[in-house]
Amino acid sequence: MKEAAQVEQVKHTKPAPALDLAAIRARLNGERGQHYWRSLEEIAETKEFQEMLHREFPAGASEWWDGLSRRNFLKMAAATLALSGLTACTKQPTREIYPYVKQPAGLVLGEPLYYASSMLLGGFATGVLAKSREGHPIKVDGNPEHPSSLGGSSVWMQTSILDLYDPDRSQTVTHWGEISTWALFLSDLNDLLLEQAARKGAGLRFLTETVTSPTLAAQLHDLLKRFPGATWHQYDPITRDNVREGARLAFGEFVETRYRFDKAAVILALDADFLYTHPERLRFTRHFADGRRVAAGKKEMNRLYLVESTPSVTGTMAEHRLPLASSEIETFAWEVVRAMGGPVRMANEQPLSKLQTKDGSPWIRKEAVAQWLAALVRDLKQHEGASIVIAGEWQPPVVHALAHWLNQALGNAGKTVDYLEPTEAHPINQLQSLRELVQDMESETVDTLFILGGNPVYTAPADLQFGQHLAKVKRSIHLGLAQDETAGSSTWHIPQTHYLESWGDARSFDGTVSLMQPLIAPLYGGKSAYELLGAMVQQQPIRGDYEIVRDFWRGQNFWPDFEISWRQALHDGFIQGSGAPPKQVKLKADLLESLPRGGEPASGGITVEPAVGSQSAKQETAFPQVSPRSFKVLSGDIEVNFRPDPNLWDGRFANNGWLQECPKPVSKLCWDNAILISPALAQSGNLTTGDVVELSLGGRSLRGPVWVMPGQAPNAVTLHLGYGRSRVGRVGAGVGFDAYALRTSAALWFERGGKIVPTGQTHLLVTTQAHHQLGSPDREVYRSGTLNQYLANSSFVKSSVEIPNMDETLYYPDEYQYAGYKWGMSIDLTTCIGCNACLVACEAENNIPVVGKDQVHRNREMFWIRVDTYFKGPLDNPEFDHMPVPCMQCEHAPCELVCPVEATVHDSEGLNLQVYQRCVGTRFCSNNCPYKVRRFNFLRYSPYDKPWREPMYNPEVTVRWRGVMEKCTYCIQRISAARITAEKENRRIRESELRTACQQACPAEAIVFGDLNDPDSKVARLKAHPLDYSMLGQLNTRPRTTYLAKLQNPGPQTDQGLGGA
C-alpha cells in the first residue's frame, strides 16, 4: 500500500476545519416538516463540506493504485484490446470445446443444479441452497425450508461464494512456514499421538470456535476419553458469554431464549441488534417485518423501543430510540424493573440523575429520559403477554437477567418468548476457557495445541498475548481457511475446506440439525476438522468427512430406515423436527435480590483540554498532515465500545472484496473502519470525519480516523473489529486499523476511560453516500408517515404529487402494449432494514465487479441496486430511513431516447434492456437517467481473465468489458429461463417460479417482483396499495419499480429532548 499512501498524500493536504455542530443542531431543531439529510456537512452547508465532499485529488492525481486494480495493470490493456476485437471488425477466433470423459449422472449441461447445505457463522448453522453450473458453485441463497433462514440471506451468506474461490486462500500444508505435505503431517501426528498416549494426553489441548456440530463434538469427546489429560477449549471473538451467564443468573442453568417477534406488539431492545448480529437474525427479521407490514385492512404494527450506544441496523428500525452509553444501559434496565414494581436495591436512589447530563454531553435531558421511560413502561404494561424485552450480546449478564425477569413479569414467557435446550454442544464460558488455556500455555504445560478454525492470535483479547504464548507451545497445529496470523505462528498449518467443499453437520439456533454437503472437491486440497480429528483416531485407511458424518448419524439410529431418511435429510439440508422443544424453566425466586447491586453509573463529565504538542506526534505514518487546527484532547468519562464489523464480522472476511466494498449499513463507509464518535464529542474535540486520532484505553492505544456518527451516544466511541489484519490476502492488506489492540479480557465489549488525542493528520474515508448532499424535502423522493396518519387518510402519500397523463410524450403513447407479461417491482420502505443483502446478492448474480477504494472515491461503484440511507430529525438522535434503489425500468424511459446506437431499448414486456455489445459508451443514457441507477465501466473492472474468477461467473450473464454501460435488468436471465420452461409446457410463468436475486435475498421480504398483468400477483396487489408511490413520478417516466411509503408506529409520547438541545 506504499503507493496508496502516497496517493493519499497528494489527495488532501487541505485543512478540513471542524463543523459548527452547534449551528447544525440549531438549524435542525428549527426545521419544520420532514427535512431529510444525508450527512452532517450537508446540513451545515459549510464550504468545508464542499471540500470534504471530495477530498478529490487535485487535478493531476489520476492514479488508482489500490490493492485491486494494481494487480492487473498490463493485462487490462491487453484484454481490452482483445475484447475490442470481439465487437470490432475482426474474424471470430476458433475456440475448442472439451467434453466429459465420463459425464456425471443427473448433470444436464447448461442447466443449474441446486444443493441444500448449511453455512456456519459464530458456530450456528443457517440453511442455504447452493446453485451449481457444470460442477462449480456460482451462487448461495437461503434455504426456504430451513427454520433459521426461511429463504432469506445475510451479506455473509451471499458473499461466502467469493471466499470459496479466493486465490489468497491457504493452498498447502505448511510446517514452520515451509511448504509441507499432509503425509508428512500425518507422520508427525503419529509421533505426538504416541507421546500423548504415554502421558494420557496431559499437555494436549484443543481450541475450537463455538461448536454445535454433533459429529465434531462426539469426535472430541472420544478423544478426551482416549486422552483424559487433554482439554477442549472454545473461544469465539464474538462470544455469547453474556447470554449464557445471564441465563445462568436468571434460571440457574443455561437455556437459549427464542423470541417470537411475529407475536409481539411492543419490543424493548436493550442494546440488542437482533436483526443483524443475532444468530437467528434472518428468522427474526422476517417475523419482525411481518409484524410491521401494513397490508390492506391490517391496522396494527409492532412498536420498537431501543436503547443503544451506536446506531445499529436494528436501531434504524426503532420508533423510539434512546442513545445511551452501553455502560448506562444497566442502570436504565434497573429503572425499567423499578418502574415495573420490582424490588430494586440501587447503589443510589436516583440512578437516572447519574445519566449523562449537560456537563457530560450538551444534549440529553434526564427529565426527557424519565418521560421516555415512563411512556415505555406504560406501553409494556398495556401489552402484557404481547411484548418482548431482549438484551444484546454486548450487555453484561445482569442486564440479561433483568430482561428475563421483565419477560416473566410481563407474562411473555411461553407467549412471545420461550426457552430452549442450549444448541451448543459444549456451552461454557469461552473467555474463561481461553484464559485457562493461556495460563497453561504460559506455564508451558501445553505441548500440543490443536487450533481447529478461528484465528486466536489476531482475535484473542490483547492482554492475553495469545500470540506470544503460542510460541511457547512445542507443537501447535492450526486448521484454517487462510494463511492468517495464527497460521503464521503455528508449527503446522493445515488448509481447511470451505463449507461448500466439505461434508458436515451443525445445529441452527433453534437446535435443528443442519447438514453440509460439498458442491465441489476441495479446490486447494483442504481438510475438514472432521478429517483432522478422524486422522487422530484412525489412519488406515484415512476416513473422509463423508464417512465420519454419515457413520455418526447411522450410529444415532433414531431413524427406522437410515438410508431413506438420510437421503431425505441431505435433500432438505436439515433433519426434520430435530429442533429443540420449548423447555420449562423457573426464574430464581430472589433473582433481583441476588443480583449484584445496581451498576454504578458514570460520574459523567469529559475533560477537554487543548491538544498541546499533539502536532509534534508525527510518527512515520501513511497519514498526511493537515494544517493545525485548534484540536482538543478528550479524556475522562469516554466509553469505548467494540462491535463486530457489519461486513467483516470478526475479521474472517477481511479478504472478501464484496464485503470490503459493501457500504456499511448506516455510515455507508467502505474499505475502512473508523472510530465512530458522537457529534457532541466531535464538537467538544473540534474533530471532523477523517481526522486521525490516537485513542488510548487502559494503557493501550491505537491510531485511526474519526467518523462523526449521528445518533451515537454522546460519550460513547465505537470501534469495529476485523480490520488492520497483519497476515491477510491482497484484498484485505493494509485496510483499516486493528481494534483488537484495545480489547482486553476485562472488557470485551465496552469500557470507560478512553482518551482521544488528535494527531493533526487526516485519512481518506470513502463512502458511497457521504459524498452525496441532500435536497430540499419538496423533492418528495422519500416519503414516510405514521400509522395514525395512514389510518386517518390511507392515501396521504399520493396526494402530494400529480402524475402527468400517459400520452404526454413526444412519441407514441401506445408504442408498447405489454400484452404478454408486464414486469414490475414494489419495494416496501417500512420493512427494509437496510442490511445490504439485496446489494451483494445482485453483485453475485450479475457478475458485478469490485472496483476498489479509489474508484469508489470517484463515485464509480458498480452496484446495480444501492441502499440509500436518509437521516431525519435531530442530529444527536435522528430517524434513519433506508431506500433500496434498483433500475426503475421506466415505461417512458429517458435513457432509451438518447442512445444513438439503440444499445438501451424497450422490450415487449416493458424492460429497459441494456445491450452491452452494442454499447459504444456515450454515457448519454446515464446523464438522462433521473435516478442515476446506471453504472459505467470507466476502466476495465471485471477480472475476466483471472482463472480464479472465471468459474464463479454466472454463465447466464454477460461479463461486461471496459467502456460499456450496465444496470439492473430485473434479472432478465431468470425471466427468460422461466419463460422458456413455461413456453415448453405451453403455460404462463407461475409467480413462485420467478424471483429476482434481490427479492430472493431479502430477509424481510421487502422487495416483491412479478407480473403486473396478473391481477392476483402479489406485486399487482401491492401496486394497488394506497401507500404505493413512484419516485419522481411527476417526470412521467412511468417507473415499473415503485415504493410503499415508510410507516412508523410511534407511541403517544414524544421524544422531546432526546436530541433536541
Binding site: L86, C89, K91, Q92, T94, R95, E96, I97, Y98, P99, Y100, V101, K102, Q103, V108, L109, G110, E111, Q817, A819, G820, V905, D907, S908, E909, L911, L913, V915, Y916, Q917, R918, E956, V957, T958, V959, T969, I972, Q973, S976, I980, E983, K984, N986
Partner: protein, 221 residues
Amino acid sequence: MAQIFGKSSTSFARASLVGGVSGFFGFWGLVYLIYWSPYTTNQYVPREQEVPFSHEHHVAGLGLDCRYCHTSVEKSSFAGIPPTETCMTCHSRVWTDAPMLAPERQSLATSQPLHWKRVNDLPDFVFFNHSIHIQKGIGCSTCHGPVNQMPLTWKAHSLYMRWCLDCHEAPEKQMRPKDQIYNMEWQPPPDQAERGAQLLKDYHVSQQRLTQLRDCSMCHR
C-alpha cells in the same frame, strides 16, 4: 519557361474524378463482400478435428439419431457434446484398434477430454437455447444444414445476427411438424405458407410472442 502540366494532365484530372468516386464505393463494396464470404464466416469450411468424426457416416450411414450423442438438446440450452464414454459404447467393440480412434482410446485411458474445434460457435454475449427451438418446431438442419452429408462437419450458415433475425421475423417459414425435427432432408414444402400458419397455432406461438421474438432480450443479457 516550360509548361509543367501537359495536355494529358487534363484527362488525368477527369479520370481521377471518376476513379476517386468509383474507388470509394468499390472499396466498401469489397469490404462488404469479404464480410459475407466464407473467409470471415467460415461457412462451408470443413473443420479438421483431432478425431475425423464423420456425421455423414454415423447419421446417413448408420442412421444414428442426433439425440444419441447430443443428449440434452431437448432439455437444455446446450445440445450437449458426447463424452468419450458414449463413443466407446460402440467403439469398445467395433474398430477397436483403428488408428484414427487412437485419441479416443487415449482419452478413456488417461481420462483426459478430447479437444474438439467448435464449428458452430456463438460469441459469449449471445444466449441461444436449443431446447425451445426444438420444442417450437425448428429442426436441426434449419441452422446446422445437411449434417448427414458432412464427412467433416462444417458451418452451414453465417450465424450472423441478420441471419438469425431473418427467421425470428418470420419463424413460420421454417417451422416443421414435431416428427420432422430431426429429419435432415426436410425442406419447406410448397404450401409452407398455410402449414406454417397452422403450425404457429399448434405450437401456441401467439402474435405477441412473434413480436417478442424481435426483442434484443431474446438473445442478449
